[in-house]
Amino acid sequence: MNFNPEEIYQIASTIWEAQLELPVELLKIAEIEDRKRSIVVCVQISGAWKGAIVLDCPPQVARHAASIMFAAEPANVTVSDMQDAVAELVNMIGGNFKSLLPETCFLALPEVIEGGNYSIRATGSRRLGQVDFACEGESVSIAILEKLLDEAAAA
């Protein structure tokens, strides 16, 4: 599969602006800084194309997104709300991303990891590319991974 960052950014910016009414701005990777805590959501895709979409979202953006999606005051948003909101955003990205893939592909349920001081690695896959954008002064990244290993290894 050929990775086109512009298409991914277009999908993300449309979702952010239509669903959250939050403007976003494309960033260069060099501008991304490490952060202490983040919510990382990985949604796997199986079928004619196998891979994953990984969204790395700072808590501030997740809180704002959850407050909009669940019509709650930001102060009343729980960690669970934030996780659900980011998972829903990844589902939307995945649903749109599927239209770029060959028929037929399936989205798995999102895997949500929240916290700090951890590393995450999708084994048996290669990173096709990454798109980074700014939302309310915070950086959000979307990585597209493609599976390398055949599932027969597990069978």
């Binding site: 994953a52 659900d84 690695r121």
Partner: protein
């Protein structure tokens, strides 16, 4: 885990989705690492935090949806991975994460054959660190299968459901 209260037992209805994972743990570690493991009584997960510091996560899609997390204590992970890989691997080495993911993949793949449904399993994600949580599906219970080995404890957390409409 440091629960002082007895966690609730897994519901009977979930057992047909859990037993294949219990069998898979025994078989995979015996066959692939030459390690005898003990599998203890499953219980429902009652806290959000990860059971241990090294986790391999596998997603299920198709007639079965959800995720399975194989979670190791630091010391158990290092020694079990050494037994599996045949060499000592540092936690920071990419091969260490690959080995954790491969073990999770084998357990999920082995269990999948006995779930009685068509499902795909995902690329393993591996998380290493402290102070993180792996969120589970809100519409499926998370059943923890506590496991033991000569090298330390680990757990398999199963949060899957069978889709009737698939």
């Amino acid at each position: 885990m440091s629960d002082t209260q007895t966690p609730p037992e897994a519901p009977v209805a979930a057992s047909k989705l859990i037993l294949p994972f219990m069998d898979a743990v025994r078989q995979v570690f015996k066959k692939m690492a030459g390690v005898d493991t003990t599998v203890n009584r499953p219980h429902l997960k009652t806290q959000a935090s990860a059971s241990y510091d090294v986790c391999g996560i596998i997603g299920f899609s198709g007639q079965i949806t959800g995720s399975v997390v194989v979670s190791f204590s630091d010391s158990a992970a290092e020694k079990l991975i050494e037994a599996f890989a045949g060499m000592k691997l540092d936690r920071s080495h990419p091969d260490f994460a690959d080995a954790v993911g491969e073990l999770a993949n084998m357990i999920a793949g082995s269990a999948k054959q006995h779930l009685g449904a068509t499902a795909s399993i995902s690329v393993p994600s591996v998380v290493i660190g402290k102070g993180y949580t792996v969120a589970n599906m809100s519409n499926a219970p998370c059943v923890v299968i506590p496991c033991g080995s000569p090298y330390g404890e680990f757990a398999v957390e199963v949060s899957i459901r069978q889709n009737r409409s698939s």
